[in-house]
Every structure is written in C-alpha cells, then in structure tokens.
Symmetry: D2
Subunit: 293 residues, 4 copies
Amino acid sequence: MPTLGPNRYGKAETRVVRVVRDGAVHHLKDLNVSVALAGEMDAVHLCGDNANVLPTDTVKNTVYAFAKEHGIDAAEEFGIRLARHFVTGQESIHRARVRIEEYAWERIGTAGSARHSFARRGQEVRTARIAYDGERWEVVSGLTGLTVLNTTDSEFRGYVKDRYTTLEETSDRVLATDVHARWRYGWSDDTRPVPDWQRAHAEARGHLLSAFAETYSRSLQQTLYQMGARVIERRPEIDEIRLSLPNKHHVLVDLEPFGLTNDNEVYVAADRPYGLIEATVLRDGAEPLIPTD
Amino acid sequence: MPTLGPNRYGKAETRVVRVVRDGAVHHLKDLNVSVALAGEMDAVHLCGDNANVLPTDTVKNTVYAFAKEHGIDAAEEFGIRLARHFVTGQESIHRARVRIEEYAWERIGTAGSARHSFARRGQEVRTARIAYDGERWEVVSGLTGLTVLNTTDSEFRGYVKDRYTTLEETSDRVLATDVHARWRYGWSDDTRPVPDWQRAHAEARGHLLSAFAETYSRSLQQTLYQMGARVIERRPEIDEIRLSLPNKHHVLVDLEPFGLTNDNEVYVAADRPYGLIEATVLRDGAEPLIPTD
Amino acid sequence: MPTLGPNRYGKAETRVVRVVRDGAVHHLKDLNVSVALAGEMDAVHLCGDNANVLPTDTVKNTVYAFAKEHGIDAAEEFGIRLARHFVTGQESIHRARVRIEEYAWERIGTAGSARHSFARRGQEVRTARIAYDGERWEVVSGLTGLTVLNTTDSEFRGYVKDRYTTLEETSDRVLATDVHARWRYGWSDDTRPVPDWQRAHAEARGHLLSAFAETYSRSLQQTLYQMGARVIERRPEIDEIRLSLPNKHHVLVDLEPFGLTNDNEVYVAADRPYGLIEATVLRDGAEPLIPTD
Amino acid sequence: MPTLGPNRYGKAETRVVRVVRDGAVHHLKDLNVSVALAGEMDAVHLCGDNANVLPTDTVKNTVYAFAKEHGIDAAEEFGIRLARHFVTGQESIHRARVRIEEYAWERIGTAGSARHSFARRGQEVRTARIAYDGERWEVVSGLTGLTVLNTTDSEFRGYVKDRYTTLEETSDRVLATDVHARWRYGWSDDTRPVPDWQRAHAEARGHLLSAFAETYSRSLQQTLYQMGARVIERRPEIDEIRLSLPNKHHVLVDLEPFGLTNDNEVYVAADRPYGLIEATVLRDGAEPLIPTD
C-alpha cells in the first residue's frame, strides 16, 4: 500500500471583520485567515475514520469566536492565539500554521465628530504566517502588492553575452517591481518577550521603500540585496528576509519612424514575460527557513 | 444577405507610461488607453476590403507618439486630442471613442533631493471616456475600485415582505460598497471653455466620499442618491452622474452557540451574492446619456 | 433638487446548483443568476422609504425556491419564469432583467452503473439575458470564453497608411480570438411559441465555430461578419447577433539574430494591447437592440 | 554585512506558440515557460557586478530559438532541453528550474480537408517542473484547474466536537473540488531511459478522475488518498504525488420557510471559506521531495 507522506488540512480564507466601538469613534480590522492543521491523521486518509478530525467548519467558527473573545490587535498576535489553541486543545493535532492577510483601511475625513467611515487603502496587503508545533514558534510577516518604480538611477551593463543575446546595454532605464517580502522574526520561544509586531512591520516596510529609492542600481539583484540588508541591519528582531521581485519591464518606445526622439520619456509598461529575481538575506549565523518553493 | 449593424474597431489597452524630467524632479503619468473607431466600414466587413481601415497597430503607435509630442496632462485632454486626430485625420472615420484608465502614483519620501521614486497608490482607478463625432464632444469621467464602509448609521427596515422573504429588519448594520462612478460633463462644444478636468475630478471624488460618510442611510439607494446629488449640486460643470454600487454584505456572525453575544462586533465579509444598486442622477433638464447597458 | 434618472436594483451572482436524481443517474445544472428590478422607486432613492422595495435577499431566496419548485431546464426558461414572477408579483416592480451564466459539466466515465460524477467542461460560459416589462420579452443568449485560432488562411493587407503606420502587410498570419457572442431571439410575445432554447444555442455555437474555421480571412472584421451572417441565415429564430472579438495577436518571433529562419512556426502569444472588433449583424428589417455600451 | 542566502533569477511567463505544418494538417503547441537559474551570483547581489549574469532577455530568446530548432513535443522534454542548456552552457550557472504550463487545444471539425482550426479545450492546465543541477534530474508533472463533483456517495460523520463545533453530521453530501496534482517521476539519471511523458500524463489524469468517481467518501482526505494511491499503484514510473484539494462546499439551502422540502436537490455553491486538504502519497521507500511550501 502506498505510504502517506506530509499532510495537513484546515479552513482557508475565513473573512473576518472586527469592529470596536469606542463611543462615536469606531475602529476596524479586516482579515482573511487560513488555518492548516497536522497531526495523527493516518486513519482519516487510509480508512476515512474522522475520530481525530476537528471539522474545518469548527476552525472557521473558532476564528469568529476568538475575534469576539480576544479582539484583534496585530495579525501576528491573533494568529499565535489561534495556533496555540488548536495545538494545545486537540490531542491529535501537533502542528498548526495560520496564514493571515490584512487589508488596510483609512478614515474618511468628515466635518462632524463621527468617526465611523472608512476607505480601503489600496492593493497592498500585509501578510503573516505563524507556525507552531507545541514548542517552537516561527513567525514570518510580510507584504505583497507594493508596486514601486524609479525613473532613473538604474542601469544594466556588463552581463554575459551568448549566441542568443540581443539585449542592448543601458545606462539609464526605468526600474519597477511589485515588492513581495516575507521576513522571519528571531522570536521562537514563549518565554522570551514578543516583538512589537505593529512597529516592526511599519519600520520594515519603510526600510524597503527607502532602500529601493536610494539605491543606484546596476541590477535588480543589487537593489534586492540592499532592500533586504537594510531591514536586517536596522531591525534586530528580524533574522531573515526573502524578497521576490518581478522586473516589470518598461520598454522605451522607438519613435524614430515618426521623426521623433524618445529621450527616456515614453515607455510601454509590458505584462509578460518578466524577469523574476528572488533571494534571501540573513543575519550572520541565521538559517534560511522561509520556504523558497 | 444579413445587414451590418452598429460596429467599431480599434486598439484596446495600450499601456503608456510618460516621464517628465524637470531636473532631478521627475513626474509620472501611467495610462491604459483604448480607442474605438467607426465610420465607412461596410467594405471591410462584407468583402474584407481594408482600404478604409487604419490598422489598430497604427492606433497604438499614435498613442505613444502623442505622449511624446504633446505630453500627458489630464487624461481627458489626452483623450480629446486622440479622438480629434482620428476623426479629422481619416476621411473614412466618423466617430471615435477613447477610454482611459489612469493609475495613480505617489512619491516615496527620501532624505536627499532626488525625486524620481514612486509607489502605486492603490486599487482605485481614474477613468475617462471621450466620444467625438466631428461636431459634438461627450466626456464622461469617473472612478472604480474605491471601497468604502460605514460601521454604523445604516439601517434597513419597512420593506416589502412576500412568501420568500426571510430577512430580518435591522436598525444598525455595516454598509460597504465599491464605488463605481461615471459623471458626464456639460461641455460638448469646442467653442466653449473646457472644464478644469483635474480639479473637477478631485472635487467630485471628495463629494462622493463625504456624502457616503455623512448620510444616515435607510437604504443603499438613498445613500446612492445623496452621493450623486451632492456632485450635481456642487459641480456646475457636471450634468449627469451614474453610480453602480454593490452592496458588499457584512453578515453578523451568530456567536450564541458559543455562549457569546455579538454586539455588532464580528462580521463575515461575504463574496456572493451581493445586492447591486444602480442609478443615474441628473441636473434638472439634462438628458440621461451615460449608457446603462 | 437633482432628478433621479434610470435606476434598477437586485441581487447579483446567486450561485445555484440543482441536482436531479433519476435513480442512480443524476443530472446537474450549475448557474449564476443576477436579477435587476425597476419600477416605482422614487421614494427609496429620495427619502429612504423602503415600502416599494422587495429585499434583494428575497430575490436570492426566490431563485433557490424556484430551482426546487420548477426545476431548471434551459437557462432562458428559468430566467423567463423569474422575470415574470417579479413583474407580475409586485405592483411596484414594472421591469425585470435576469442575467444567467451557465457552467457546463460532463460525466466522468466509470466502469460501474453509477452516474453521479462530473467534471467541469472548461472556461466557456453560456449566457442568457431575459428582459420583461409585463408585455414584451427580450431574450438574448450567447457565450463567452470560447477561444479559437486559425494557423493559416488569414492575411491583412491593403490598409490605410498614415504618418504613424509601421505595420508590415502579411499574407499569412495566425488569427486568434476569444468569441464573445450575444444573439437576440425574435420571440417577444407570450402568445407565440417559444424557441427550443437548447437546440438553438447548440446550433448557433456550431455555426460560429464552422464559420470561423471555414472563412479565408482578409480582416477580422470580415471573419466576424461571416460568423454573424451564418447564424442569422441558418437560425430563423434569431434576428440579431452581436460579436465582440479581441484580436489576440500572435507575433512572429524574429529568429534571424540566431541564424534561424522563422517559417511561420514560432509565435509570441501577446497579452496587451489587442485589437478589438465589434459589430452587430441583423436579419433584414430587424432593429439593433443588443446594447453596445 | 548580512549574508546572501538562497537565490535564483530568470524569465517568467514566456508565452510561446509553436505551429507545425504537415501539408494542410497543422499542429499546435501552446506553452507558458518560466526559467529560474542559480549559481555564482554573489557579485551581482553584493556589488551589482553582472559578469556572471546571463540576461533574462536571453533566457526568453533561448525559449523561442529552441522552439524552432528542436520543436516541442512533450513539455517535459522541452524543459529538460532548456535546463541542460543553461547548466552546461554557462559556467556560472549551476542549477536550473524550468516551469511550464501547457494549454490544450482541440480541432474544430470542418467539412473540408483543411486542418488548421482549433479551439482551446478549457481551464485545465497541464504543468511540468524540471530541475537540474548538472547531475540529477527532478521532473514533477501535474495539472491544475480540473474541477470535479460527486452528487452522492459522500458523507462526513464521527468527527471531533469541541466548544466551537456547530456542523451537523451528514450521510449524503455533494463533494466537489478543484484538483491540483503534482507527481514526481522516479527518473533522475540521464543514463536511464526516460518515461513516456505523454502517456504517463494521460494515464495519471485518468486514474485521478476514476478514483475520485469510484470512491465512496467518508472524508475528502480519504478520497485524496485513494486518488494518490491509485496513481502510485498503476504508474510505476511515478514515485510520489501531492494533491491539494479545496473542499468546494455546496451548502443545502433551507427551503422550509417557503413550505418546501429540499431533498438534496438545491445547493449554494459557496466561494469562501473553503476546506483545504493537502497530502503527499509515496511509493514505499520513496522520499517526499515535492515542496509543500
């Protein structure tokens, strides 16, 4: 009989919105929570015996109940609470992984004193991934959908040329990417003080942006490393960061057939294909644990 | 032989990015331009005779060339220039419709004086649709992807109940929607002064937001009308506005099975189905011209 | 006070799956139903008075209840039943429009006699749009997501050249498109026999495919007209058809830099921009009623 | 200075369409190719020195040139050829990973003898992932977007109940999922005969479908294991398979408020949240190498 290998199950994409009403001033948290559980699951796979299976419907209910009972502050804290609950609450469950996407809202400014109106801030999504095996925590936070662009201070020269190379070197190009970043906190032990998740996230995000803007880039790899290194250098609570950066090519349009000169002014924003640059940057001595698929 | 009815052709989704370099301070415009042309096109449909067909590839080239030759200020102005070119430049083309999506970028703040780094502002998209038949202009501007939410001051009561009604009345619900707005300017004649497109757009957007926030809502229809009416009342250059507002249901979770009371605190953000409310609001005497499909 | 213009409301995207159990042989219908209602709706827009408003939640319930009470045969028939119910059942509702997407499933062949397993047939979606005002019916059926491609018998020559034209003529190109078709039935009167919706749809689809395949194309406009004309000529129950055909450009790759000749063998399947060709084809004397937006 | 961890770069989503013209009978292959390369890349990350970097533009060119020079038979074979080229062709590149999506087309039947017209077969995508380090091959094939549904022979009972459990047991439910399958071939060594990729894929797909249809399911985990085990048992060239199966919930609608009985006939096809069941099934003694993220 074939062997059962690594497996997990759970409820994905439970959408929970939590409102806190502080008089006329309301607060809003908007999350998408995915929980995956693993443990003694041979019987359910091999013979359909559900005796060790907490239903995924219950997982969903737990997310909503916890939103009420404990509120939602940082996504990381909410994920830790959920992961601990499943691993310590069910004997058959040995490991939990909670993934959270958080959508940001900002207040709509109005004349009166009422503060209950909000607008979604955009396409950027804050992410958190919490893993727990009953002993050790692994918290990886990050962001996706942060699109950035430099109109200059980017070149690409001195690369390998082979039989199939036609690209011309350039000393001034547009450099654009969608930042997909995940960083792992050194914290892994319940007995140690937890990081300030909100501040760490805001600061890491700021460092990514400023490193992108301030780096004179000879390649997207160099920019990537500078972005990652700045986070590692400035945030002691972060041991590892992995960046996945599509090179969103902006191609200079050839205007000569129309008797015009394109002096780095008019670009095609191309869809596909795109370069894809991925790398991990680590604190000295840290192990790379963020999955690279 | 079957008759040829209404027809048009053109190039859709030409992505153009235009950079202006003012010393170390750079400026960025990012558009998606779709052009549709109509005119004497019987021969190409009926016998494949292309003698009246300007290729869609040429339409694309024209977008890029105009970005260089004339720059891009307001999307509306750029669309007017393109529409005029096609209608006056080709005898066989009698009507042009230009649709533009504009993506907003904001500067990344950095320490130095360099000003060439940008981040995409989010999912909201500014839209413009310019139609021209050689005599009359129709300019419809708008926005999509503006997601807003009120945590209170919304009720839904006193509605019709029939055999299939199970919904309970509520006097305090979350009201959320993705604003899809299109407004038509009164301007239609080349001899009249054109509106200030940038200011009109910013102001209309602001009125939509504040009317949404400030309306005590007995139904999403009422909120919609208030939003539309405020734009018509405050912006004399706008004669008509059409709003399409999905009611993004936020369903209160039943926490009683867990011994908890949900005091308007925990909601499911539901995907489908959703209510869909659509209406046009008009200046007195104006005709509804924005298509309702 | 600004005037209320055209408006409607309803429930969009109610997803209903209907199973019929004929012993061990089961049957499956899978629809996405969107209902929009219009009528005496001034009070709800102007003052939030819901006395004429049947809740959209009730609309959803009705879809599910009708699936049980009446079953689902053709999507058109189901839509007609719903539209009639809302217009005749509520005095305040004068017009209904029902849009349906139908997803096709095919049986998974198995050894035994059981017939309860299905696989989704693909990305093609069957569409229907039923409008009713208490007297007159308008039924527009169609399809989207049918992607087709000819590897030869397509050319593009003899077109207009202006200052911005760089495209070279071609006598042998790949022609590919996603067929988006909507056809209107002549039937509009309850006293007349209704068409055989299932057969008409299958036949119209077949004619679109064969006309695409059999036309030697000098332009996509010509192919479009041939596709539409064949449906009008062969299906007497159909009076009008509108086709929207993106020209999914397949660009011949220049392999000369690598010392290779590209003899119409290797193509880039491009994303954007794309040509977009739209036209209506009509039975002689029929009016174009399908919206062109 | 922070350490550079695992990294790779390449060109993603190169869309190549290859036509073979066998007289009037044409053949079509339609791929989306993503290549990632790794090796001596410290200098480019740390100092922007591109001397070891083959441009991603060259990677794209190579895909097109190889499509001409070698044709495209099985996606796996094409990926192997590309991976070998990059690893053996550039000293600085030590590892290559090629990912391919293949889109299926079927012929449009026509009366004449011409055979150059095709329709896309649907949303199902065939996948292949080839990894090579100069010595060892790892080939993982699979599919995504295969949506299947059983209308009966599925129950869910006997599960754990805790404080947050409200789900009722069911002995007859709809079971539906989107099959996402990846299977790893035992072949890893150039000196051994390669599998028949086309036949292996077709057979594995067939086993997944028939196991899904023929399993009386007490849980989706059980169905998953049966699907995986059947592939391992019947295809000796496959050592490992990983399945990721969303439980696409079909919720029985409560029709009692309308005086109707829902005898397993009318369902809501729900979007979110969804159960997510993931597991690997292995040949005895095989190691789980397919990434689980």
